[in-house]
């Protein structure tokens, strides 16, 4: 699988980008031990002027490079946490609905429908503006709109798996239904959901940036979306303040997509071979 995965150039490029980002996120506290929100120099210093502040400073004199590194932490943390939350919730709901069937299925799927009819970003906006912006709230807000897709896919998979012979076998030997659902059915329903995970992570990173851009991110942390919003007021005189975090955002989303694409292709090739 990993050999197949690394055979596609997209996957390799994606992996390199993501590895770099993770390295940035992990190295941030060592390379930039100061609070990234601290004032580091004169305000609006353009890039490549002062080598202690290579990417310049923003309107208050905060180091852009330090913000970029610490922002990578926030973006990745929120992206991964939101994706993990929505996949866990989605898979649970999907498995229960698909395996139990009957009215439980009906109720859970109608709830899923209800969430799907509201645009995810709107839901996130509403939730954050009510609950107040902080990192945990942002994660929940993003997950709120993202769990429905994994739920639907899991349910579809479970519906087909539960009719398989080995499930019937498990029933016959007297396993508890919950045990069958989570031990026998769920693991086999997971792969298509995991393939979806890269899309969810990428969307979560973008949603977090959009929320911060609108001033609904956690103000006590550096986020790329917040940096872009900060720079927007001076877009004409200091465009680098928006462009630098913008590029970081594009690369992150691109990296996540490429890795996801590579994973899907590799698994498709594997299935084809089998």
């Amino acid at each position: 699988m990993s050999r197949l995965f690394l055979r596609s150039p997209e996957a390799v490029a994606g992996t390199i980008i993501l590895a770099l980002l993770v390295a940035m996120a992990l190295a941030a506290p060592w390379l930039f031990p100061r609070d990234p929100l601290a004032i580091a120099g004169p305000a609006m210093l353009p890039p490549f002027q002062d080598w202690t502040i290579p990417l310049g400073t923003d309107r208050l004199g905060r180091d852009v490079l330090s913000g970029l590194f610490h922002g990578a932490r926030t973006s990745l943390a929120v992206g991964l946490a939101a994706a993990a939350t929505s996949i866990v919730v989605g898979v649970l709901v999907g498995t229960i609905a698909g395996f139990a069937g009957g009215w439980v299925d009906e109720v859970l799927m109608r709830v899923t429908d209800a969430f799907q009819t509201v645009p995810g970003f709107l839901l996130a906006l509403a939730f954050v503006s009510v609950a107040g912006p902080s990192l945990g709230v942002v994660v929940v807000a993003i997950a709120l709109g993202a769990w429905t897709q994994p739920a639907r896919i899991t349910r579809a998979e479970v519906l087909s798996i539960r009719e398989r012979d080995y499930v019937a076998g498990a029933r016959v030997i007297g396993m508890h239904p919950a045990e069958i659902a989570f031990r026998e059915v769920l693991p086999n329903a997971l792969p298509p959901v995991l393939a979806l995970s890269s899309v969810i992570v990428a969307a979560a990173v973008l949603t977090e940036a959009a929320l911060s851009f609108l001033g609904l991110g956690d103000p006590n942390r550096v986020t790329w979306g917040g940096m872009i919003a900060e720079g927007r007021a001076v877009l004409r005189s200091a465009p680098f303040l928006s462009i630098v975090p913008g590029i970081a955002l594009v690369l992150t989303v691109l990296g996540v997509y490429l890795v996801g694409e590579g994973a899907v292709e590799a698994s498709a090739v594997k299935r084809g071979n089998a």
């Binding site: 208050l60 503006s129 001033g215 927007r232 877009l235 200091a238």
Partner: protein, 536 residues
Amino acid sequence: MSDFRISRRGVLAGAAVLLASTAMPSFVFAQEPKKGGRLVVAADSEPRNLNPAIVASNGVFFVSSKVVEPLAEASFEGEDGLSPRLATSWEGSEDGKSVTFKLREGVTWHDGKPFTSADVAFSALQVWKPLQNLGRVVFKDLEAVETPDEHTAVFRFAKPTPFQLIRNALPALTAVLPKHVYDGSDIAANPANNAPIGTGPFTFAEHKAGEYYRLARNEAYWGENQPLLDEIIYRVLPDRAAAAGALEAEEVDLAAFSAVPLADLDRISKVPGIEVVTKGYEALTYQLIVEINHRRKELADLKVRQAIAHAIDKEFVVKTIFLGHAETATGPVPKNDKQFYTADVPGYAFDVAKANALLDEAGYPKGADGQRFSLKLLPAPYFNETKQFGAYLRQALAEVGITAELVNNDSAAHQKAVYTDHAFDLAVAPPVFRGDPAISTTILVQSGAPDGVPFSNQGGYKNADIDALIAKAAETLDAEARTKLYYEFQQKVAEDLPLINVADWGFITVARDTVKNVSNNPRWAVSNWADTWVEK
């Protein structure tokens, strides 16, 4: 089209003007105001209620001051800084219990009915006193308004009320409404609040939500040869970055209230045909203050408040956040107020070492992690500058070992959190100084404001000396003695720091240079623009 065709005669005339300009420059530059034309203005908000007599705020005045007029307007040259509008003269009695206004004759409302003293009496008693945000304070003792004839109104007060205060309140608080439109109706819900009827130089023509407001020339205006413009269009451009672009593209002629971000001014001032005007906001000074919740035991300690004052680098705030378009503040009255300001107050120079020493002295030593205690900081979301100052204050406090956790809210949630729920430790607010401390400044430190009153003392601060001083000034009739009391008030506030005044700022107007008579009074953006004209 024919206007743009180049004719030989036109070229010759142009050449003659050019020749003349070299010979007699002063003659050419003294331009004769021209009638006609349209002024397109950038508007960044669409107030729901456009009635300036109920909502005395600059967002409302910006549009409605051209339609509904006050008794007098602020002026650079006029006596006591005023020039007459609907009142032609005003006089206070010796005992401070009455003020007599002579009203302008021959004025008609936009619907054709004559303007009389009954309209003034109705506005004062039914609107300014009971309904208006600021009038509630200034006109609280107004008992009756007598109208001996159609053009005289005598205000009677239950308690002596300083004439100086009434005078200073005239421009912002006394927009006169037509009695025949409002009488007998639910004033707060009257449809005229959304399509105001007044006596001003422009009539309210239409409002397309999300697009524009249109005001048209009032042909029956009392001012001689006024107004000069045919119409004013307010284009709604909520995005601040858009205003600068629209000016450069010649889509709008004027953007007031710093609609062009400060950081963009330097660049846009170099664009030919565009002027940056810093005048015209002298009577609309905004103050950047740190509101303090005195219910927190750390903040109830004067030493801690002094430490916070010493931790703030006011010069940095003016230079970096306001890019020089502000003044450092010393106390609750801004430096540009000639009547009341005194520099003779305790100052708090930027001094991190002193701030640290004061905090140690107060009994809050740094812990192992370098932190003393942590606070919740709520910057008001209304301006870019208040938000940025919030971010700066967080860092300034970190330097002295105080952890400030920023909490961002939208306007409604911010007002509820600070002024109703008191769920803050420090807040950043931008109150307005309106020419007299009694109008909207003393309320920031006076005790006894009921919960929920925005821009009032909701920090639980109570100082009997300051309360007594405010009460005494409110009934001192002699202007000089009253001013002295406000000197003392400034000293007491600077000494005890119920709040911390950081900077005072006015706004910036950016206009195309074809717009004339811009910023010719201290409240220009919210005045009637009767003499504004556009060169074609």
